[in-house]
Amino acid sequence: MFEIHREPIDVAKVVAAVAHPAAGAVTTFLGTTRDNNEGRQVTLLEYEAYPEMAIAEMRRIGDTARQRWPIQEIAIAHRVGIVPIGEASVVIAVSSAHRAAAFEACRFAIDRLKEVVPIWKKEHFDGGEVWIGSQVGDVFPGGETEPRK
């Protein structure tokens, strides 16, 4: 299961998607909106995706994980639009016969997702907003990359 949703992610549904009779372990990762970043008071995060390609890249991460670790199933769900403080923007679940493979594959999946899946994050904070990763240098109030004169 590789999905992009505008609504809150149903974590139980992602976990259920990796259920397998030969699994002795299921690991999950939730990426949630934190209320601060680099000294800024974050008010919410907003995600945007290139959905067709993002799902294809998630599927590719799943294929790579299956080649590298003896896992049973892997599922990734990502939310787009506004994600309030404390809510999950991404949920990954992996099942395997023994726990080491599920932990390692889950870690690989989130790290890789952050590198290659075309999904962007805009941080809204007290005094401005900024696309994370696109800023050049420090971020100042208002989202500018130069201090205000």
Binding site: Y50, E52, M53, K114, V116, V117, P118, W120, W131, V136
Partner: protein, 82 residues
């Protein structure tokens, strides 16, 4: 040839459009398209070092040749976090 261009996130905001269509000379590559777009929108230029590209939903290098009808996405750095 004609290609379909998709803008996302910071790039979409810089050009104030999420998509566009561009006529290019036959034999043009991804980098040629980027240079054309930068001439039209100088605000794109500072993103030159960090932008990635996808052609028909697969990551592509700047020297990849384009074909009529290709969908070219301009991909700013993805969401990060650690």
């Amino acid at each position: 040839m004609r290609v379909h261009v998709l803008y996302f996130a910071s790039l979409r905001e810089k050009v104030m459009a999420s998509e566009a269509s561009r006529e290019l000379q036959d034999g043009a590559c991804v980098g040629d398209l980027w240079n054309t777009l930068c001439r039209e929108h100088p605000a794109l230029e500072p993103m030159s070092a960090s932008v990635s590209f996808a052609v028909n939903r697969e990551y592509a290098s700047r020297d990849q040749a384009l074909r009529d009808g290709d969908e070219v996405a301009l991909i700013p750095p993805v969401s990060g976090g650690r």
